[in-house]
């Protein structure tokens, strides 16, 4: 079946990111397809390029990258939620006159319409908050 995940919880603050990654791995192991992970609310911080956790803790952004590298999962970040929280890709950084950027591929800034589409166009949407 085709699944999408929504992640609302902030990394290293809530368990949501850990739970979502664990679920994603079990999903793939059972032969399902994970088309989309959509990050909203504090979940957008999962995409922070500069994340630098201690070496004995999981690097959550790297884990998302590993997931994306396994197959066809898109990592979509709500642009409105991200901008106010300081996560800008190169294009948005330029538009806002910032010298650097804090979000990059495979994470992509998208509209909230992609959450609606992920909800309606997959067999299942599971939310981790």
């Amino acid at each position: 079946m085709r699944y999408a995940l929504a992640v609302y919880g902030g990394p290293y603050s809530q368990q949501a990111s850990h739970s979502a990654l664990r679920f994603a791995e079990a999903l793939l192991a059972r032969g399902h397809q994970l088309t989309t992970v959509f990050f909203y609310h504090d979940g957008v911080y999962n995409a922070a390029s500069m994340m630098a956790p201690p070496q004995d803790e999981p690097h959550l952004r790297d884990r998302w990258l590993g997931l994306a590298a396994q197959g066809e999962t898109r990592l979509q970040v709500c642009v409105a939620a991200a901008l106010r929280r300081g996560l800008l890709d190169e294009r948005e950084a330029t538009r806002h006159g910032k010298q650097s950027y804090t979000l990059e591929a495979p994470f992509e800034l998208t509209g909230l319409g992609q959450l609606v589409e992920a909800t309606l166009e997959n067999d299942h949407l599971i939310t981790f908050a």
Binding site: Y40, H41, G113, L115, T119, L120, L125
Partner: protein, 130 residues
Amino acid sequence: MGIVSPGESLAPGELLVILRHAPHGSSWLREGLEAAMVAAAFGREVGLLFTGEGVLALLEGQQAGALGQKGSDNLLAALEMYDVERCYVDAAALERRGLSENDVSLLPVTVLAHADVVALTQCFSRVLSF
């Protein structure tokens, strides 16, 4: 204030958005309403269920908060423009807070008893909760 019309309530729908959080204290309510508006703008059949603390979103007389922080009333005003017509409020959540149908006036809403809340979560094919 809508009268519960079983035919209307039972109509299947595409996306139900459940709103459980109060205005101002966190961004959950605004973020849920924005998801509903976007879905409506894309032409989807959207329903809204206000339950838990979310029923407080429907009280009149709300204002901007500290530093001009926005509440949710401006989003509710915009909802009707976006053709979100199926708005429901959980009777139990109202009652627990000492509120009645007359108190929730920011939107035309249908008040649902427990069995109707259950039916609502079943007749929509997808649910997003906030």
